[in-house]
Subunit: 145 residues, 4 copies
Amino acid sequence: MELKMTEAELKAFLARDFPQVAQDFEFVELKPFDITMALSAADKHLRPGGTVSGPSMFALADVCAYFAVLSMLGPVALAVTTNISMDFMRKPAPGRLLCRMELLKLGRSLAVTEGRLFSEKVPDKPVARASLTYSIPPDAPISVG
Amino acid sequence: MELKMTEAELKAFLARDFPQVAQDFEFVELKPFDITMALSAADKHLRPGGTVSGPSMFALADVCAYFAVLSMLGPVALAVTTNISMDFMRKPAPGRLLCRMELLKLGRSLAVTEGRLFSEKVPDKPVARASLTYSIPPDAPISVG
Amino acid sequence: MELKMTEAELKAFLARDFPQVAQDFEFVELKPFDITMALSAADKHLRPGGTVSGPSMFALADVCAYFAVLSMLGPVALAVTTNISMDFMRKPAPGRLLCRMELLKLGRSLAVTEGRLFSEKVPDKPVARASLTYSIPPDAPISVG
Amino acid sequence: MELKMTEAELKAFLARDFPQVAQDFEFVELKPFDITMALSAADKHLRPGGTVSGPSMFALADVCAYFAVLSMLGPVALAVTTNISMDFMRKPAPGRLLCRMELLKLGRSLAVTEGRLFSEKVPDKPVARASLTYSIPPDAPISVG
């Protein structure tokens, strides 16, 4: 199964539908069922001491997982986050915070993603793990079981 | 078991340690093991259409649960969020978004909270549910099993 | 909104569709959107020392939540568990282990439940909390938003 | 960091401390921070139609994650499950049900694991995903941050 949206199309989608946060995230790698994005950490994402805040990590995981779904479903769908589970394990190191999400299931009504957040310089010591579920509206074009 | 911190002390703690977000939250009710807070929704918390964003709901749940722990533990502790699970169930209605959190367990090394987010005008139709776990450092003053 | 199934109908459903475990659970209270069940702990549910095992607690939470959904949806639906999140907080005390589940949302395609497991003699010190999501098939008869 | 327990030692531990379920699980592969086990599905694990039951999947994930922790911590520790999050995505295919768990963090007081359950014949279509947290008692011998 191939990608239904290019990186440029996903970027345009983000800029149009989420203008307030579009500049916060960048694409690192886009593959079918597997996407990596980065948080362009600005002051507003940081806690005292320079740590990336919990809500910013949540936002990165949500955007990354959402695009994992959208890239395989196409832009017509209006998927909404229904569940998230996150474990916070380590403080982020200085530098970029990345998130890699896999799309584990793209069903008719539910999509399930799982992935990890990690500092670019220490990829084998994940900062957090996250799994998210999206509800897919009945009129979405496809499903792959 | 009684509250270890007053509302004024919690507010001062928030203003000092989380200056960037302190003005985003307000206290509604503070009781032992049971706290209700509200999000003072500003433009930065909203998605197009006026819906409160997922990261803002996460932030409200996290601050509310954190204060449920801190209010019973006292200000010396440096508790950190280790796990969150949230289900998003309905779109928030216009008006204030509230979160009520119960502290279900305050152990030596872990605290567990559970609660619901709801629109002030529709308290019986929760917008989301959330459960959060906090790790309590070994030198924290107390525990109540 | 009223119950779509009586306790007797739920019991018959359990005996027919889950004959291997039907005798493990009993009803304590059945109200709309709110159900309490008990585990009839037998040797097979216990760990050395007499503690109820994790899988048995999972089973109790799942059956109780499933019946919270089914009792409001009616017997025709084939709801399946899609997500569970549990926090284990205390060892069960001797005696019956109960689970009270609330049905927080009964939507067209998803139902969300939340509840607590507790020893009958110590209801204010929950043994565990659990939230479960069920996927409802498209041909299910109703929905209540 | 090397394994602190061999497969034989883990098997002996399982047989001694969990005699009722020891015969239900078998080792497939044991590596540092990465373990694969299988459920020896018997009638008691099956639902009508031959599907592995939810509690049996929970049990497989819990034992596998527990041994991921124990194999790196050594047999003295008394780790207890404090949190589980599972997403159920597909029906198991006939044949063996496997679970591969990674140990993402082994800290002083918490260990975090994440993994997937899958049918042996269809490894790329996971049946479920699971993440589990274990609380490690203060007197456990080691930690690796």
